[in-house]
């Protein structure tokens, strides 16, 4: 069993996430095998990998939702998760969903502020069932941001959105991250998304970080930039996708 799970990071350590020797097994099969991961404060890290490579499991561990682990995992006390499905409580209006689980007795204005930040203040009184997919995802983001996290964990948050909404949502996340300055770990299978948003892209394979790619392009990034295409192609190759065939 882990000994140092979820102890807050001490100020001297310049890490928002520190993982060492992490192993998580399902029925004797190690999905995460002696993994090492460091994320600096206010760094945007994207985690790529084929489905079933354990990237979502890693995120769940960092979120504290999966504790059957071995190894050392250090994460900030204030962390927040946005899942692929928005997972709003259908029986609570949007603003109550945003405030859910906050300590003390936060007033509605706190929720309104976060909703304004994601451009959803006009739906604050709505039931979640009346939100569109993009709106629900933004509400979920507001719910994460209102916690003022030092670490924001995003589990394929754009996966269920249509192409146009996804572009807007990606842009929004990029802006929010620049404004908030929190560390972000984005789990995704979309290489373009990873290159667009992240400072550093990690490729996970066989339960470890198999490859690391620093993205030094200036922001806002241009997907038509040849360097962008080059990075994208390199990462796709790492993931086992033949880019020359795709180009044809």
């Amino acid at each position: 069993m882990a000994t140092d799970v979820h102890r807050p990071v001490s100020p001297t350590v310049t890490h928002a996430v520190q993982v060492e020797g992490l192993t998580r097994s399902f029925d004797g099969r190690a999905v995460i095998d002696n993994l090492r991961l460091d994320v600096r404060p206010s760094e945007f890290v994207a985690l790529l990998g084929r489905s079933g490579c354990g990237k979502s499991t890693l995120l769940r561990i960092l979120a504290g939702l999966d504790r059957d682990i071995q190894g050392t995992v250090l994460v900030p006390r204030r962390k927040a998760v946005a899942f692929q499905a928005p997972r709003l409580m259908p029986w609570k209006r949007v603003w109550r969903n945003v405030l859910l689980g906050l300590p003390g007795k936060p007033t509605r204005s706190v929720a309104e502020q976060a909703l304004t930040e994601v451009g959803l203040s006009h739906r604050s009184d709505a039931w979640p069932k009346t939100l569109s997919g993009g709106e629900a995802q933004r509400a979920s983001l507001a719910r994460a941001l209102v916690r003022e996290p030092d670490l924001l964990l995003l589990d394929e948050p754009f996966g269920a959105l249509d192409a146009l909404t996804r572009i807007k949502a990606q842009r929004l996340v990029g802006e929010l991250w620049q404004r908030r300055g929190c560390a972000v770990l984005l789990v995704t299978h979309d290489v373009e998304e990873a290159v667009l948003l992240a400072d550093r892209v990690l490729v996970m394979d066989d339960g470890v970080i198999a490859h690391e790619q620093r993205i030094d392009l200036d922001r806002p990034r241009d997907i038509t930039d040849p360097r962008f295409a080059e990075l994208r192609a390199g990462l796709l190759e790492r993931l086992g996708v033949d880019t020359t065939a795709e180009a044809a």
């Binding site: 504290g64 927040a80 029986w91 689980g101 039931w127 069932k129």
Partner: protein
């Protein structure tokens, strides 16, 4: 994979029949002009002059008229079934001398108490076994066993235990109400989406916070379904309970009427039962409308 593709040489003959078809279609313009066109009339214009509610009420009204006809021609004698007119008159009399209203009061009180106790016990047990694993181990098996006992069969035992006053009647209703509520609330609690529970955990909700903000609201639709079942059973249990050793209430009126072959009074009492049942259903449905307006499947309003 590539085997399924047609060889390049074969593609030409594949296409050519299509182009021949196209040629036909071009020639077919002439034929299209000669087509016999049939107008599609809008549904609203197809003369539904009788409104739906009128058509729906006409069935029961016709039945009532037939009943009255059979009674007044003497085919249906009054000791088999009294005529609708007679029944209306008797109902008026019973309300006039206050016996029906006082009987209704007594019966309603029994149902109210039975429902109250049954709801408390049923939901209480369901919470214990739904929320705690140890509670489930201790509570669920006995409840599932007791559930299979037909509660009406316990009337003799209840009379021995509680005498012939109000207690055995309330107890029978309580018993009938408890189980459907227990089952539905329990299923509701256990049916709460685990993804939402996980989301609640990730938001930092405590155990009690999870119960209050996630589990209980999630179990509410099930609980209300259980309440509706329970109400139905409560009236059934009331009828059974009141047929035995009652000295007041609607059931007592019925037993008395049976002794004097007053089919009119019996029918009035049956109508009262039906009416009260409808009323209870209406109350629960209004409750659902208010409490479950968040539900995606909600279609009311």
């Amino acid at each position: 994979m590539s085997i399924s593709h047609a060889p390049p040489g074969a593609s030409e003959p594949d296409i050519s029949p299509i182009s021949v078809d196209k040629g036909n279609a071009a020639g077919g313009d002439q034929v299209a002009l000669d087509l016999d066109l049939v107008p599609i009339t809008p549904a609203s214009s197809r003369g539904t002059r009788v409104p739906r509610w009128l058509r729906r009420t006409s069935g029961p009204v016709l039945l009532l008229l037939l009943w009255q006809l059979l009674s007044s021609t003497g085919v249906l004698t009054s000791d088999v079934l009294a005529s609708p007119g007679r029944i209306a008159q008797v109902a008026g009399d019973l309300i006039g001398n206050g016996s029906l209203t006082s009987a209704m009061g007594t019966s309603l009180q029994r149902v109210a108490f039975g429902l109250l106790f049954g709801t408390l016990i049923g939901t209480g047990l369901a919470l214990v076994s739904g929320l705690f694993r140890i509670g489930e181990d201790l509570v669920d098996a006995p409840v599932q066993m007791l559930r299979t006992v037909p509660f009406v069969g316990l009337i003799p035992l209840f009379i021995i235990w509680f005498g012939i006053g109000e207690a055995p009647k309330v107890a029978i209703i309580t018993l009938g109400v408890t189980f459907p509520l227990y089952l539905n609330v329990y299923a509701g609690i256990r049916g709460v989406d685990s993804q939402l529970i996980e989301a609640g955990e990730s938001l930092g909700l405590s155990r009690w916070g999870l119960v209050r903000h996630v589990v209980l609201p999630g179990a509410l639709p099930g609980a209300l379904t259980g309440l509706r079942y329970s109400l139905g059973i409560a009236w059934l249990a009331l009828v059974f309970a009141e047929q035995i050793n009652a000295d007041a209430g609607i059931g007592f009126l019925m037993v008395q009427a049976r002794d004097f072959l007053q089919t009119d009074v019996i029918v009035v009492c049956l109508i009262v039962y039906a009416f009260l049942g409808l009323l209870a259903d209406f109350i629960v449905r209004s409750l659902e409308k208010v409490l479950l307006q968040w539900r995606p499947t909600f279609t009311g309003r």
